[in-house]
Symmetry: C2
Subunit: 459 residues, 2 copies
């Protein structure tokens, strides 16, 4: 009788199975250059091949970890030496772009930026956008319900997926490639595969919702004295800019101060404000949108809601403003720095950040905590640097950041997912009843626990 | 030993159990005045009582049908004499409105319009809107994933629910009352209860996503010569009006002609155009938005995309335009008239309607078919009147309307759901694999088939 690997090679061809040195020549992830160690890596070319591979795994009780762009932040695609890696790197086709219905049907291995660029040629926008756009895949975006910088206007990946095709643990192909905005014919099964981190099935094809591309971009950096003013500003702009507000990115003063230290970014205004916000609005009419943006900004300056404001005068200046928000090497240069991604009701954010800082202060008097976030989405990112060189301090920092979320109904993961990294904290955000229901779903769809085993929760 | 009903009365109090004449004094539904016939109707006051009732039903193998506003169009809440009706009529509280985070937490029995009005007092908008707003409940909106007239801008109910609490068939309360736009901590369990028509659990509380209320409304009625022009117009306005386009309601010429017959609506323009569209845009700046709207309209007139256009000069004139679209008594006065709600890719709509009309024509030469729709959402409504007085013709009409959807990847239900009415057609829109997975979910969450039995599909 043939071994599992022999059968696998027979099934998909030897060139589709990567082993030995070729496997070890691959990095473990985007973040971890260590050689990839696994039983093997298989690269199917079609959904039918994915199905055949999973059927074989099902027969052999073989565990499978699906790989996309490997840019995830929570160890959600980590493998061990007994796992088979299922890579979608050969399934990258953009199968259809419907310019009337505004949909794109793509294979799950397609890179986000490739899809963005392909639809842009037709004057269309696929609005999901995040730093990893050049490496992350649509399948990974689905599996993690990716967020990013445009959520305030366009929603998360879940809201941008109209249909999908997924393969279950036993190899059954579930083809649910709906292309309409409205479809209430029975259960919306795609939800089982969005944000479940590859634990309930392997996403193979996706129908994406597209928008007409906006033509105008207006950007500003503003400074404020209190978090109350930040909330007022958000509310005011949601009203005055209507549907055009596309980014509202808050930086706490300490963050701004740190990334504009000499040698890092040039500060475009005083470094001593309490809060800074990068604003962006996108619309359909360059002249009218600019007028609307400037009028809204003048109003909030006049009302005293905003202390100072800078409007970039060129694309280079705009990029420089954004790089203050997006390029935080000045902070991660401190080793170790632990990155957090939490969400909580906006009204509790100021007191939450104070509470976390005070807990960290007690632990590590020389430590630092830098905060920024997509606050319109309820999402904060925290950088915690204990000021001591020991990565084993991570669990202590976790405690200080996660514990205060519980009484506020906050979440230990806004957009990154749970993976392995946050697994021990999941029950802080979810009730016993919820966890039992998640386990029931997992046991029902993957009774042998073969798909991405050990991730999110233990069965 | 006490009977089931005795135990039920002991559990929630005799006043919470409606039986006999009091039960028969209630109508079967919003549409059907026949007396409600059921084992009894129970009106719990709290989630804990809903849980206790379902636990008791679970012990006794008692079937349960949840009732909200009973305005559904597909016999989704029909009961038989052995079913217990679980009415949420006493759970109508608006528990919290968060003006900073823009959320409302409400009990499932709250009426949609009551919620709309309550948040409007804070300058906020709950954007779901449909004709039944004064009767339908939030719980029913969740269970059916309601759509309506604002989907093109704000999405369906699924996109407007941040969190919910539901009770499972065995009485377990699943509290998943997330209030944040972003929360990727584990599986998104609320999806199990949205659009599953009460077959997987009873929704008891809901966290709704709110928006800042828009201040401007611009409306127009336009006429076009071809469906291609209709598609071009939609695309053009999505671009020029950006995020402001809030309605794009197409009427085929025959529909417009019929509802503007003498004795019905006054025609505001020639009745002989091929297509009519009611347009609406909502924004944040009355003056600028009006300018944007008029400029966009002038452009499409100049381009020849649109043949004629009417701008209402008063609220009364605007209401009159909308009533042409919303009040179709001239059509339903023909008895019988069968109403359909389908979705399909926009690019196939014109040929689909031609195909349906030709099939109907062959069947009933004197019959009529009137079409209108939220085409931006891929959604068409068809009124089919065979021109003969026999309601038993319904299945024949179904065939003519539903069969041509299959090769186009269309759906037999865009927004109304499946209920009992469309059950036999579900497999036309969903694959064998999908149906098997739906049944697996149902058997897992409701192994005794106690919740809304027989609806959507047979287990």
């Amino acid at each position: 009788m043939q071994s599992f690997l022999e059968q696998l090679r027979t099934l998909v061809g030897a060139d589709a199975v990567v082993e030995g040195e070729a496997l070890a020549a691959r990095a473990s992830s985007y973040w971890d250059p260590a050689p990839l160690r696994a039983l093997a890596l298989v690269r199917p070319r079609t959904s039918a091949e994915v199905s055949a591979v999973l059927k074989l795994c099902h027969q052999h009780g073989q565990s499978v970890v699906t790989h996309g762009g490997l840019t995830g932040c929570v160890d959600g695609a980590v493998v061990n030496e007994r796992d088979l890696v299922l890579s979608l790197e050969r399934m990258t086709a953009i199968e259809d772009i419907d310019t009337v219905g505004r949909t794109a049907t793509v294979q799950a291995g397609a890179v986000l930026q490739t899809v963005q660029d392909a639809v842009a040629e037709f004057g269309l926008l696929f609005p999901l956008d995040l730093g990893a756009r050049g490496s992350c895949t649509i399948g990974g975006n689905v599996a993690t319900n990716a967020g990013g910088i445009s959520v305030i206007r366009y929603g998360m990946m879940r809201e941008l997926v109209l249909g999908l095709e997924a393969v279950l643990a036993d190899g059954t192909v579930i083809s649910s490639l709906n292309t309409m905005l409205k479809n209430n014919a029975g259960y919306d099964l795609k939800q089982l595969f969005i944000g479940t981190e590859g634990t309930l099935g392997v996403v193979t094809r996706v129908v994406l919702k597209l928008k007409e591309a906006p033509v105008s971009v207006n950007t500003a950096l503003v400074a404020l004295t209190s978090f109350e003013a930040v909330c007022d500003l958000l509310k005011s702009l949601e009203r005055t800019l209507g549907g055009n507000l596309s980014a509202f990115e808050v930086m706490w003063g300490a963050y701004f101060h740190a990334v504009t230290e000499p040698g890092w970014h040039r500060p475009p205004m005083s470094r001593d404000h309490a809060y800074y916000v990068v604003l962006e609005a996108r619309g359909a009419d360059a002249r009218a949108d600019n007028l609307q943006f400037m009028t809204a900004l003048e109003q909030v300056l006049e009302d005293g809601m905003v202390e100072d404001a800078i409007i970039p005068k060129s694309v280079a200046e705009r990029d420089a403003l954004w790089s203050i928000r997006e390029d935080f090497e000045a902070i991660t240069a401190h080793d170790p720095t632990f990155l957090y991604d939490v969400s909580l009701p906006i009204r509790h954010m100021a007191s939450y950040v104070d509470e976390v800082k005070s807990r960290l202060q007690q632990q590590w008097p020389a430590g630092r905590c830098y905060v920024l976030g997509h606050i319109g989405d309820g999402n904060l990112h925290l950088f915690v640097s204990p000021g001591e060189g020991d990565r084993n301090l991570h669990p202590l920092a976790d405690e200080a950041v996660y514990q205060p979320l519980m009484p506020l109904g906050g979440s230990v993961s806004a957009e990154h997912g749970i993976g392995l990294e946050k697994k021990s904290w999941l029950e802080l955000s979810r009730s016993t009843g919820e966890l039992a229901l998640m386990r029931l779903l997992k046991r029902t769809l993957d009774p042998q626990t073969l798909l991405n085993p050990g991730k999110v929760f233990d069965v």
